[in-house]
Symmetry: C2
Subunit: 355 residues, 2 copies
Amino acid sequence: MSDIKSPESHPVNPTSIAAEPRTPICVLGLGLIGGSLLRDLGRLEWPCYGWNRSEKTVTRARRDGFDVSNDLTATLQRAEQDGALLVLGVPMFALSSLLDAIKVHAPHCGFTDVTSVKEEVHDLVEEHGLTSRFVGGHPMAGTANSGWPATMSHLFEGAVWVVTYDNAVAGDGKGKGANEAEELWLNTWARVVTMAEAVGAAVVPALARRHDRAVARVSHLPHVLAEALAIAGDKGGPLALTLAASSFRDGTRVAGTEPALVRAMCENNRSSLVVAIDETLELLQQAREQLANPDEDMRDLTEVGHAARGRFEARAGRKKGEGPNRPIIRVQPGGTGWVSQLESAESMGAQIGIF
Amino acid sequence: MSDIKSPESHPVNPTSIAAEPRTPICVLGLGLIGGSLLRDLGRLEWPCYGWNRSEKTVTRARRDGFDVSNDLTATLQRAEQDGALLVLGVPMFALSSLLDAIKVHAPHCGFTDVTSVKEEVHDLVEEHGLTSRFVGGHPMAGTANSGWPATMSHLFEGAVWVVTYDNAVAGDGKGKGANEAEELWLNTWARVVTMAEAVGAAVVPALARRHDRAVARVSHLPHVLAEALAIAGDKGGPLALTLAASSFRDGTRVAGTEPALVRAMCENNRSSLVVAIDETLELLQQAREQLANPDEDMRDLTEVGHAARGRFEARAGRKKGEGPNRPIIRVQPGGTGWVSQLESAESMGAQIGIF
């Protein structure tokens, strides 16, 4: 396998992954996320292969040296045979039929996904009766482009990769005595975390519903506000667009995202996003009343907003590219109290590592 | 005068200003805008001097080689004597008393301002009976910092500098027959435009109220939305802040601005900003209803928003720093039909030049 596109400027420390046996990984769906993951795994010489529905993508990926197929049944049978971890890289609408196929052709494989919402995926997996071998995932990386030509090495370097633990069996006091299903789940969870770390991501644990609530606030709401700001500015006509400078440019940047992608994010996370929009409506309504009354002022909004931005900067780094300041917690999958450790890491927004 | 702080990397083309006699310019208030203007004028060897209330600022500016004083009366008398153009660089709250002093000590000087809203300033000038020698100005440049230490050369390079024409006397058919007051105003207007062009800005004409409506949409609204987004994200706690990435970073950037500066902008432009917020509330309310109803979708908001961002990019350049695409119209102050030319330039968001 070769990757001539990206420089190897951020090599992953091999000692961090050497401890784990490199069991095969099978990536199903080779779009921006799935394809980039396959590139990174190949670069790390991790045993890996993939499947994509479209022949064109398969041809392109093969030309780049990857072991891929457009025969789903054969790919799943191969994964079942060599005990591969499945990574579901297909869009939400294609998940259900893929789960059907997994149930039939890879009845013992653990699997994860890379979709941007998690509760709906967990529900779907549960409907298919596959909960005990599923660990939800959300690598928070991407570009505005999609498809195999958009894939790249090092896409996940420094990104947060959320891993859910809804299906965790509290290991307290059980340890080695856990039954087979428990072991499969724990093993899947550890393999997902190891894979995410191997490609340079920071793993953050979260329950599916808490993940969805958080991304509604910090990812989906920014898109909704950017769209609204773009429209309100544009309504001012050519003069307004000429006077628009960096505050408008930055505030509307993500309105440049393909509408279909924005809809997919937002419409798959309706209830959490409604809550975030309602809070925003309340803040804006209050600011509006304060502006309409010459005896009132905007001290509240501006001071609380400034403090909030300060807390974000304190955590994320003051500038783009500056390293984040978040706690790191080491956990032992299935060890005593490990689910409480995950809960505590989640509440702190901490990164975790496996020991 | 010297300016050792900034490299002369973007020299202003001297031919564009050589045609105009360099009548003196007196800058009153040496904060970020006024001080940076004085730096640029000094760099261009334009006859110029300044005043600032604070002795500390005066000492600093003198140390940097500038001809400045903290004696307002003496400075205004000097300006009156040598027919200087006055540039009012003080904050809104200090304008009224400065206008009082100008009325007494510089009764014949034309003047402009650099405040971020224009209707309130025009009203204040009218209350002082100084309309016939006032041209409003708004250089749309700045940084998050303030005061003399924040001043810099080339701050206005490539920025839009709005110049109002509310007080224009329609020159149609009058031309040279205009009376003395008309000539003073026309002369002031031409001097303001020439000065703005000399420091590298693009002059865009606008009536005060149209300027205020436009900046409410593209400058003040982005600040209000950034504050609200910062608060809504922060309310998600540490997990949300850890998951926040570039959409949140860009959407909240201007919430990092000093609250007092945001308030000054917004609270001086209340009625226009209320209109812009009301439109935004309506858009968000609609999106909220569509999300709350599983049979509806966000096609409207995402597609109209995407198209609006596209129009902004088409005008402003797709990337920061890329040159804008706006029409340029040449006008002759006081010439036949010149006010119509300004109106037409305004409606197109066009840049103007004097011929």
